[in-house]
Amino acid sequence: MNQWKNFSKGFIKENAVFVLFLGLCPTLGVTTSAINGLGMGLATTFVLVMSNLVVSLVKNLIPDKVRIPAFIVIIATFVTVVELVMKGYVPALFDALGLFIPLIVVNCVVLGRAEAFASKNTIWSSLVDGAGMGLGFTMALTVLGAVRELLGSGAFFGMKLISGDAMLLFILPPGAFLALGYLLVLANMIKEKSS
């Protein structure tokens, strides 16, 4: 398989958030600022790459019937690693992301790739697939975070661009749904143009 294609599909053609609608809970929950979106995306990418790697390594050892619980244990292990590392080194980000760090375990993107890709492909392909899907997810979260931060507090990655009040609504929960809804419309328009 062409590895470049395998890597780049996660960004546009099979983007987890904009096309497959997977992993929506963290997408909406943590994107109050671009930096939170980026942090959450990178944490998920780490778990995705590592779980894809291990799943493709052990795919022939796991009996078919217990494969889903086995995948979940592998994923949960790496999530615990991420939890402990983030708590130790970036406590501020850990507090901001809160509940959504342990919830990477039930992120459908991670289990979805383990089941649909890593359990059927070679180690190298699975690594590339995990990195591509993970970075595509990170991109989506960062874009949504940047839009919400810009509209909601007039800042970009923490830099204040507009002085005075902004539309606070976009930082609050309803703004997450509205911003993602309109971004999806935009994604549809781009898709139409390109085809």
Binding site: F21, C25, I72, L84, L99, L169, P174
Partner: protein, 190 residues
Amino acid sequence: MEYILIIISAVFVSNIVLNQFLGICPFIGVSSKVETAIGMTGAVTFVMVIATLVTYLIYHSVLVPLDIVYMRTITFILVIASLVQLVEIILKKISPPLYQALGIFLPLITTNCAVLGVAVLAVQKDFGLLESTVYAIGNAIGFGLALITFSGIREQLDLLNVPKRMKGVPIAFIVAGLMALAFMGFTGIV
């Protein structure tokens, strides 16, 4: 009184879907018909309450005494996954009609972050056993309220002339945003 406040706050003020963003996948995925939304709510309520109860007991009687609290995520997800399997087997045996109604939703619940989320939150908030159970019931009602109302709106949306690029998921998110806005009106009542 305290328990009523927990329920009101879980259902309206910090609604699990519209305010805490848990369980968004079924919220968008199975909300195109009211009937399936009701089935999903039943299954989630069932699993959420039992899962919160069981994880609470395991957390306080195994993980805390052994000082292995860092195993929380792995333990909880395994408990929930096996619980879902168990519920499926038991339902199939004792109540085939209920199994028929909830059956297809049960496997989906393992990866429903609302169930794991509520179990983790109940432990994080230092609730007692009864409080945790009430909290889980409240959140299940909140999930049902949001999901069933939302599916009603989506059924009506099918009859409308929605702009082509907004059809399906985009308009669903915008509707959810407006619902979340309405629920913000409850802020501060508890």
